[in-house]
């Protein structure tokens, strides 16, 4: 094994590892499935080539291509990364909120096929089928020869160093609050949206950074092998990289590197050991390579989809002795259903500084402090001027005016107008099909309004997307399972915290020193909530492993972590033991006393009786009546509605 061979191995490993890290970040961490990934590497390769090569005519004239500016190193590599990143921008329309992930992936796949076709057929662009050759290596102009051994090792060292830098970069992003938002988006994007995460922005960032990493890897590769043609980047190459990431372990960065070594590099190397013979059909060995890769993908997804190194559980130590406190909520909280997670290997401790235990262990600050309301809009709604409110804020926090929701010929909500007053725990009841959940979804922004207006804190928010409403303090919970399954309970809670400095791309890059304080404060708040609801013992379990009732509690706590000014609860007590439900009800009343406004859809009339005032009754898409439960029970049309429904 000569040094040239080793060199080759190292450089290819570095390049593939870099590409795989980019893909793992996009796919494993953020859930963005990019089946066109290879075109970003290709673009980077071509960019580096045309930046480094001399003009087409000067270069012997037998290749035709655009560019050819003969730029010195490191500009071609920088250009490669930039082009890779910029190429992602036109595709951001595919990854916005509304399109399903696998559809977007298909769009990117098709783009890869088509770009390959275009480049192959349109020769003036990048020399078509034959591709570019004689691409100068770095410092070639200075006379360094690619064949000298010292040069080779220097190149390899450079490549490895850059890969290490990329590794550092993706880890920094992933292990920050921003990374947590990415993983939340991956696990359940609708819920992440409703908690204030800007999905378009997050996915765009992932496409661009992944594209840049792929582009850089392409630039390095091209400078080494000095040629680049469409045959090197067919759509199937993306599949190879996906195989590497899946086998190594999606979402695990070391796994991505391992995958890169095993699959692209490993396959190349293994074929050296096969005998060649003229008796075999041509293309047999390369074809079998592909077959083997395909088989590996299928087998791994069947047998071990989490890969060799699964994503590690983020274990966060709770401040003080919280982990051993006895839960107070009765059987619901101590259930067996906290089965140890599947597929977890070593846990990893993250932060925080542990405060000395409080003298009275109860003194965690769990008191709700309402978020300062946004600057009041100029327009004030008629009817909002009455009522005193606190601090001169209007008494009506949330209002619907003639709201209609029509879909598929059915009017789920048929002209609803009502108001929710500040500081109330307002109930919303009605028989099935009344439109309660639909109305709540429109108030939160998860469903669009067919006609009518929604006013929140004086502003018309009818067209405002859900994540922006969340940032204004209007937060909702969901009826069905909506926890982030592959995040721990504590991470679920932390993901909802608004305004964490680490929850932005820039913040993530600045590192723990920058966001550590915010994070520790959030962990303390979360711990307090967990203790209040008796789930502190499950803080570091995957949320997906909890029982139904426990997941409901996580949902409510998570919504509270978002510091809502107004909370929209969609059947929070469904499947919850009556005693626990009453405790939750009491907590909600306490929160209203501290300034929060809550609108709650529920079936349990006992809950309404005890905690809600006023209660709004809906039936068949319209508001029927409003008042206390006692008053409503006395009204015949309310009783009728329930009888018929």
């Amino acid at each position: 094994m000569n040094s040239y061979y080793t060199l080759n191995l190292i450089i290819y490993a570095a390049v593939d590892a870099m590409a795989c890290l980019g893909l793992s970040q996009q796919f494993g961490v953020a859930g963005v499935t990019n089946f066109g990934f290879i075109i970003f590497q290709a673009a980077g390769g071509y960019a580096a080539a045309i930046l480094a090569m001399p003009g087409a005519s000067a270069n012997g004239g037998f290749q035709s291509y655009i560019g050819g500016w003969n730029l010195p190193f490191p500009l071609p590599w920088i250009g490669a990364a930039v082009v890779g990143g910029v190429l992602a921008l036109p595709f951001t329309f595919l990854v916005g909120r509304r399109l399903r992930g696998d559809f977007a992936a298909v769009g990117l796949l098709v783009t890869a096929v088509l770009l390959n076709l275009l480049v192959t057929n349109y020769r003036p662009l990048l020399n078509g089928d034959a591709g570019l050759s004689l691409i100068p290596a770095p410092f070639a102009a200075q006379g360094f020869s690619g064949t000298s051994s010292g040069y080779g090792w220097a190149f390899a060292a450079g490549a490895v160093a850059l890969t290490a830098a990329v590794f550092w970069f993706v880890r920094r992003i992933t292990f920050s609050p921003y990374g947590r938002s990415l993983r939340a988006m991956r696990d359940n994007d609708t819920v992440a949206d409703s908690l204030g995460k800007n999905l378009l922005s997050l996915r765009t960032a992932m496409l661009v950074t992944g594209g840049a990493m792929a582009g850089l890897s392409g630039g390095i590769l091209v400078s080494y092998i000095s040629t680049w043609s469409p045959a090197a980047w067919g759509y199937a190459e993306t599949v190879v990289l996906f195989a590497a990431v899946i086998i190594g372990g999606a979402g695990n960065h070391i796994g991505a590197v391992i995958g890169a070594i095993l699959v692209p590099v490993g396959f190349e190397e293994i074929t050296r050991f096969f005998p060649t013979s003229n008796n075999l059909p041509p293309n047999l060995v390369p074809s079998l390579e592909w077959v083997a890769i395909g088989l590996l993908i299928v087998i791994f997804l069947w047998v071990r989809p989490q890969g060799i190194l699964p994503e590690r559980k983020r274990f966060i130590a709770l401040p003080g002795s919280a982990a051993t406190s006895t839960p107070t909520a009765g059987p619901a909280a101590t259930d067996v259903a906290s089965a140890s997670g599947r597929g977890t290997s070593a846990a990893q401790t993250v932060v925080p500084e542990t405060r000395p235990a409080d003298a009275n262990g109860q003194a965690r600050d769990t008191r709700y402090s309402p978020r300062p309301s946004p600057p009041q809009a100029q327009e004030t709604q008629p009817g909002a001027a009455e009522g005193t409110g606190d601090h001169g804020q209007p008494a009506v926090v949330l209002a619907a005016r003639d709201v209609v929701r029509e879909f598929g010929g059915v009017r789920a909500v048929d002209g609803v107008s009502f108001e929710v007053r500040r500081g109330t725990l307002t109930g919303l009841i009605g028989p099935n099909g009344a439109g309660k959940s639909t109305l709540l979804a429109m108030l939160a922004g998860t469903l669009p309004v067919t006609s009518g207006h929604l006013i929140y804190q004086g502003q018309d928010v009818t067209g405002v997307p859900a994540f922006r409403r969340a940032r204004l303090g209007l937060v909702r919970t969901f009826q069905l399972a909506s926890e982030f399954k592959r995040l721990t309970v504590l991470e679920n809670l932390l993901s909802a915290v608004p305004g964490n400095r680490g929850d932005s791309f820039r913040g993530a890059l600045l590192g723990q020193r920058y966001w550590g304080g915010d994070e520790a404060a959030a962990v303390r708040r979360a711990t307090g909530l967990l203790e209040r609801f008796g789930l502190a013992g499950m803080a570091n379990s995957y949320a997906g492993d909890l029982s139904g009732g426990q997941r409901r509690l996580v949902e409510i706590m998570r919504a509270l972590m978002a510091e809502p000014a107004t909370l929209l609860l969609d059947e929070p007590m469904a499947g919850v033991h009556p005693r626990l439900a009453r405790r939750i009800g009491a907590e909600l009343v306490a929160l209203c006393g501290e300034g929060m406004t809550i609108l709650m859809v529920e079936h349990e009339l006992a809950i309404m009786d005890e905690f809600c005032d006023p209660v709004v009754v809906m039936a068949e898409g319209r508001v029927l009546a409003e008042g206390t439960m006692q008053q409503l029970r006395g009204r015949s049309e309310v009783v009728e509605a329930y009888l018929v429904g």
Binding site: L114, S287, V291, G294, I297
Partner: protein
């Protein structure tokens, strides 16, 4: 799931190539008598292809709407667990679905080969774009959408070859696909989101 499909694609496509080598082959066949009418010249084979595709469409429609298997397929697609609780052997239904799909694709491959003249293991790569464009135009999950999309895309690509170099005729399919994904991913026949 899509990833598994891509893996299978690799296995099958390159498995075929491994066995057959990279050379192109073609059918030896005659094209049959030519029919002329209304300005169109169709040879016998082309007429057969057209009739065949209409028959296939009718057969799929009949299968899904009127047969027990077809309804079981729709039920299994809608809610597999519930389907099994009804006694439907979901795995068999799914296998049957794949088999029918495979058969239809195989038939399409033969038709493609007849039309194209010669082919090798990788000729159908570009077909992927056309198929996806057709499906997304009509709406994924809508059988009738796929039929509509196929007709539209087929016509559009061939007509565009009059205006742009033949090598690029697939570009129109590509554009249609991206536009549909961006504007109305549920397709023309799917319910708007």
């Amino acid at each position: 799931m899509v990833i598994v499909s891509l893996g299978m694609t690799l296995i099958i496509e390159f498995g075929v190539q491994a066995v057959t080598g990279g050379t192109a082959v073609s059918y030896t066949m005659s094209n049959g008598p030519t029919l002329a009418g209304g300005g169109l010249n169709l040879d016998g084979v082309e007429v057969i292809i057209i009739v065949l595709s209409v028959l296939v469409m009718l057969a799929v429609h009949g299968l899904l709407r009127y047969t027990k298997l077809g309804k079981a397929m729709r039920a299994t697609a809608a809610n597999q667990s519930l389907a099994r609780n009804c006694g439907i052997r979901a795995s068999r239904v799914i296998t049957a679905t794949w088999a029918i799909t495979g058969a239809l694709c195989g038939l399409a491959g033969v038709v493609f080969a007849i039309d194209a003249g010669s082919f090798d293991a990788t000729s159908t790569d570009l077909f992927l774009i056309l198929i996806l464009a057709a499906v997304f135009l009509g709406g994924p999950g809508q059988a009738y959408g796929a039929m509509l999309g196929a007709v539209v895309i087929g016509l559009a690509t061939e007509v565009s070859a009059v205006f742009i170099p033949a090598d690029y005729k697939y570009v129109i399919a590509f554009v249609v696909l991206l536009v549909m994904l961006g504007v109305r991913p549920t397709g023309l026949l799917g319910a708007p989101q």
